[in-house]
């Protein structure tokens, strides 16, 4: 058997890899502290009149009833996530069966799986590509704190909240689909309390 000489392939330049490595190192250096959860607005009291409240309620109803998911399924939890989309648990009931392949059209990122430093710039980029308003559910122990891989510090990010702000945490390794659905309902409750029209800003004009 004749073996074709190795080196017939096109290999990318090592400079490209170095640049990518530099991005990762920079991100690693800059994200040692967790980003606080973006839920301070929940406690704020805003003056609302009936009209605005109704409009708010309508907008929030629309937003929470059609949360389209961005694709970000690094690891094990992805299969519980797909199982939740599957016939038995059926996230489609909440209008969530559409997995938008393009993050620009997605509202919700379910981070199902361990995040590594090599992956972190990509996750942040996906998050940045998503259009406002957007939400993040950290699914599983690895997504919350690094889980059982947390001690492999050289590769594993201890929690997605080092990279992106997280709205809801769903613990478990992996969480059962029921737990994920509960987490989604928590998020829906959270969205329902959101004030979209800020009266003070309107008055200031």
């Amino acid at each position: 058997m004749e073996i074709k000489p190795a080196g017939k392939y096109i290999y990318s330049d090592i400079e490209l890899d170095r640049e990518e490595g530099q991005v990762i190192e920079d991100l690693k250096a800059n994200s040692q502290e967790p980003i606080p959860d973006p839920d301070r607005w929940l406690d704020e009291k805003l003056e609302q009149n009936i009209l605005l409240t109704t409009v708010d309620a309508l907008i929030n109803w629309g937003r929470r009833s059609s949360l389209w998911t961005a694709i970000c399924f690094p690891a094990c939890c992805a299969f519980e996530m797909i199982a939740a989309n599957g016939p038995r648990f059926d996230l489609a009931r909440f209008g969530m069966e559409i997995l938008r392949a393009s993050p620009r059209q997605a509202d919700l990122m379910i981070t199902a799986g361990t995040l590594t430093w090599k992956m972190a710039p990509n996750v942040r980029r996906i998050y940045n590509q998503m259009a406002e308003p957007k939400w993040v559910i950290a699914m599983g122990a690895c997504a919350i704190s690094g889980g059982i891989f947390a001690s492999a510090e050289y590769a594993v990010v201890p929690g997605y909240n080092r990279i992106i702000p997280v709205d809801v945490y769903v613990p478990g390794c992996p969480p059962r689909p029921e737990a994920l659905i509960y987490g989604i309902q928590m998020l829906q409750q959270k969205i329902a309390r959101r004030k979209n029209i800020d009266v003070r800003k309107l008055l200031e004009r």
Binding site: R63, D107, E132
Partner: protein, 375 residues
């Protein structure tokens, strides 16, 4: 009934609006344009609901059922959400092209409905060249889609747009040839006249033409199994990868408005349009459109997607010869005056011809897996 220049007076029969309103018939045009847009938007919401629920049931799931009764308000929720999302324009994008693309894609999808009869004579403009207008207009969307692919400056978008252009250029030919068969039998290019001529639905007289039109139509509007331009397992979201917010909503709308348009044309050309017993004509029309759309959902959930070179080969090596044969046979029959004299013989003969031609051609002349065409 006079066609063409007096078309607006046909509307009078449909809706009790006096023709002597101030400002002549411009009022009516405006009014009915709004009605048509409303109809299209409602239909799009309806078909989105049908698709998501129907697909859910076919995949042994439930589908959306939390918003309103039976989840009927799901498309409303989607619309509210999508319209209020942030609009992102990539830095590298060609801003003007990126901005114009959804508009150019959206307008033709609406314009098709101007010539589709909802009831006898009830249409915005009863053009005597209605079907030619449809053929001409429906291709314009492609320009918008190609602009979207180019303007996004994204490789996936560009690949998706290129695929779409290739598909539309190829499938336009069998599509038009399939229409010509109907035109020969009906003896008119006006869509309303075609419906009036259908004492029995033309699907019985033109079974092969119907299949060709359905297939080519699916390819033209990129429904599965020809949904290569937004094949999400290959090129992410295709030409609208970089679109978000309202512009994405436009593309989403175009996708389904085109599906409704093709369903409506199929209904008009082959299924007898608004004609039917008992129910009012417009209801018949809507029911038929929904049925055709349901068939599209069915193919989408069942069939895998074909490859780009197979898509081309299928158009040129299978659909084109089929449609030419179909046209030839139909022309002979029309020449022999079968459609008026020997209508039952024509039905039987055409079904037999369809079965034999498809069988022979797919057995001996063309298989999807045979060979490749470089595109």
């Amino acid at each position: 009934m006079a066609t063409g220049e007096l078309s607006i007076y046909n509307l009078v029969k449909f809706q009790a609006i006096p023709p002597d309103w101030p400002g002549g018939f411009w009022w009516h045009w405006l009014f009915f344009t709004v009605v048509v847009i409303g109809f299209v938007l409602t239909m799009v919401m309806g078909v989105i609901y049908i698709e998501r629920r129907g697909m859910g049931r076919m995949q042994s799931r439930l589908g959306p059922n939390r918003t309103g009764p039976f989840g009927l308000l799901q498309p409303v929720a989607d619309a509210i959400k999508v319209l209020l999302k942030e609009n992102i324009v990539p830095v590298a994008a060609d801003k003007i092209v990126h901005w114009l693309a959804p508009v150019i894609a959206f307008a033709p999808a609406l314009m098709i409905f101007a010539v589709i009869p909802f009831e006898n004579g009830a249409l915005l403009a009863d053009l005597n060249i209605g079907i030619l207008y449809v053929v001409a207009i429906s291709s314009v969307s492609t320009v918008g889609i190609f602009m979207a692919g180019w303007g996004s400056s994204n490789k996936y978008s560009l690949l998706g747009a290129m695929r779409n252009v290739a598909a539309v250029v190829s499938y336009e030919i069998p599509l038009v040839l399939a229409i010509v068969g109907v035109v020969l039998i009906a003896g008119s290019l006006s869509l309303n006249q075609m419906v009036v001529a259908q004492d029995i639905p033309f699907i019985l007289l033109q079974p092969l033409g119907f299949l060709l039109f359905f297939t080519a139509g699916c390819a033209e509007i990129n429904r599965s199994p020809f949904d290569l331009m937004e094949a999400d397992s290959e090129i992410v979201a295709g030409f609208h990868t970089e679109y978000s917010g309202m512009k994405f909503a436009m593309f989403y709308l175009v996708e389904y408005a085109e599906a409704v348009a093709i369903s409506a044309i199929i209904t008009t050309l082959f299924l007898g349009g608004w004609r039917g017993p008992l129910l009012p004509p417009w209801l018949w029309f809507i029911v038929k459109v929904m049925l055709v759309f349901f068939a599209m959902v069915w193919t989408r959930t069942t069939l895998p997607r074909i490859r780009i070179d197979q898509l081309m080969a299928f158009a040129w090596k299978f659909l084109l010869p089929m449609s030419l044969l179909n046209l030839f046979i139909t022309a002979l029959q029309v020449l022999a005056d079968w459609p008026t004299q020997l209508i039952w013989a024509m039905i039987i003969v055409n079904f037999a011809v369809m079965a034999i031609i498809i069988l022979i051609w797919s057995r001996f002349f063309f298989r999807l897996g045979w060979g490749r065409i470089e595109v």
